[in-house]
Amino acid sequence: MTAAKAEKPIITLDGVTRSFGSVQALRGVSAEIREGEFFSLLGPSGCGKTTLLRMIAGFDEPTTGTITLDGKPMAGIAANHRPTNMVFQSYAIFPHLSVADNVGYGLKKKRLPKAEYDREVEEALKMVSLGGYGPRAAHTLSGGQRQRVALARALIMRPKVILLDEPLSALDKKLREQMQIELRRLQRSVGITFILVTHDQEEALIMSDRIAVMFDGQIAQLDSPEALYRKPNTQRVASFIGVMNFLDAKAVGEKGGKITLDIQALGTLDIPASALPEGMRPSEISRVGVRPEMMSVVMDGAKGSGHEIAAEIAESEYYGDMTYYLVSLPGKDEPVTISMRNTAGRAVLEPGSKTRVSFSPESIVVFR
């Protein structure tokens, strides 16, 4: 029952483009956003995230293509008639109004009885843990509190979709991490579809049910956080989401559900044929990628797992809980990055140490 509901698209984007003069901000975006999900638009600066979000909100119209919201085509429907509400990057808190008047701004049109209005405002404020803040002047609030007011102002409208344009980017790191979790929890409890714009991959991974990675006005990949991280479609997606080491490779054989690869610095090894993305032939493989945590530096006396090759530590960066090593492999000019968790008693190796690197073939991702 809930699964069926979750699959229903609340927003359908079909071939949406937007040009500003000669600048093509969006070059054909198609996607379905499901009802009740936390959806993120992730991409580098200038890739068109804000443009797309503003078109869903109704501040802008596509040059070509259509946007359907809750089964209704949105062409020609202005922002004040759409069941969406936006949390602006600058929060856009009305500076001349109190917190309560800010939150109740959209409710005023509904002409509720005073008691009911007050109750709804207080309820919305409680939802964002600002109960009792109603009478305060908006300009006395801190950045994090403004953000909550902006959210309460959207929630009180009970929209079908809440749109958030980099809502956390103005907060400091601690507060941002706290708000990420809070926002996620709130979204689950109210069940409203959230569309978040962000350029922070970690934020998108933590908060989202699904993420659309955008480059140059197009969606490069739309997947769950885990699928994006484990099975990126392209090298560009792979290096935008976390860190990945790339190695030249080509297929040299194929039999019985296994593909034999000849990989730069790692040598020949077999990977399962299922590692190949759909529609890709083994002959198309030109590179492979391995995440830093999928390889390990074999410490003295420890037994490696899977394949092992000789290596030398070029540099080490100590992060407390983790150590990042840059490791030179014979047959590859650039060192690869390997991360190691600093468990009790595990040494941090000095640059220049001779060592071995182990990895398992299952963790290898192939690219065209």
Partner: protein, 275 residues
């Protein structure tokens, strides 16, 4: 470093002389307004309020004052309205030849007033229009709109566009957004603009002199009185009252501006204002 205090003394002296030069004539106004003599000269003769009471039963003066009020209030409202449109368009939208158009609107700021007055007179004559207070208002609006734009430009530029979008996004109409968000936030600018244009129009002489018919405004009336030496102390008294009015208006406007800036959490001394 050693030069510091000396340099400061020099600057202080300069500032004092500057202030005396600026305000001494203004102080003479109330002094002679209360002086019991028709001759404007020292030494002072004695204290009297005669000149003020003579203003009370001068019907020509009252007519001139009434005319000036009609002209100044109309000018202030029309030019602030037009200035708001222009400032908003200039800040918010891009359109062809924007710089040229804005430049043309601001041109009366640097044109000599006598040229504006004469050319308007020629134009009105050609069009066969009769001169009245309305032609004066038209002339005043022409010179006041640039000031209004200058003041309102900063008010609109300081208005975050996303505030209007947020209002719209929350279901409000364009008109509702203007009423509930835009207008309250530009109100200090509007008050400044009304005040400036009112003041400019109130003491504008050349255009009023050229473009008026039989109804004269206050400055034109005062000018006509200067021919009679006996009327001079009365003019002084009138000037004193106008001075008080201007100062009161400025203080009131500044009070409202500061209060509104405070409510928005801004530093009152750094926001759009006159003082």
């Amino acid at each position: 470093m050693a030069k510091g205090p000396k340099k400061l003394d020099w600057l202080r002296g300069y500032a004092s002389i500057y202030m005396v030069f600026l305000y001494a004539p203004v102080i003479l106004l109330p002094i002679f307004a209360f002086n019991n003599s028709t001759v404007i000269a020292f030494p002072l003769k004695g204290f009297t309020t005669e000149w003020f009471s003579s203003l009370m039963d001068n019907s020509a003066l009252h007519d001139a004052l009434g005319n000036s009020m009609i002209v100044a209030v109309s000018t202030a409202m029309i030019s602030t309205l037009l200035g708001a449109f222009a400032a908003r368009a200039g800040v918010r939208y891009r359109f062809p030849a924007k710089r040229g158009i804005m430049g043309l609107i601001l041109l009366p700021l640097v044109l000599p007033e006598i040229i504006i007055a004469v050319s308007l007179l020629v134009l009105l004559m050609r069009l066969g229009m009769s001169l009245s207070l309305w032609t004066v208002i038209a002339g005043h609006v022409l010179v006041c709109v640039p000031f209004s734009i200058a003041v309102l430009n900063s008010a609109f530029a300081g208005l975050d566009q996303s505030l209007e979008e947020a209002s719209f996004d929350l279901g409000e109409t364009s008109w509702g957004t203007f009423k509930r968000v835009t207008f309250p936030l530009i109100l200090p600018g509007v008050i400044s603009s009304l005040l400036i244009t009112f003041t400019i129009s109130l003491d504008e002489f050349i255009i009023a002199f050229f473009l008026t018919g039989t109804d004269v405004t206050l400055p034109v009336y005062i000018w006509s009185q200067l021919r009679f030496p006996a009327k001079l102390p009365g003019v002084m008294a009138l000037g004193t009252l106008l001075l008080l009015l201007s100062i009161t208006l400025l203080i009131v406007a500044e009070f409202f501006r500061r209060r509104s800036a405070q409510r928005r959490g801004l530093d009152a001394s750094t926001t759009e204002g006159l003082i």
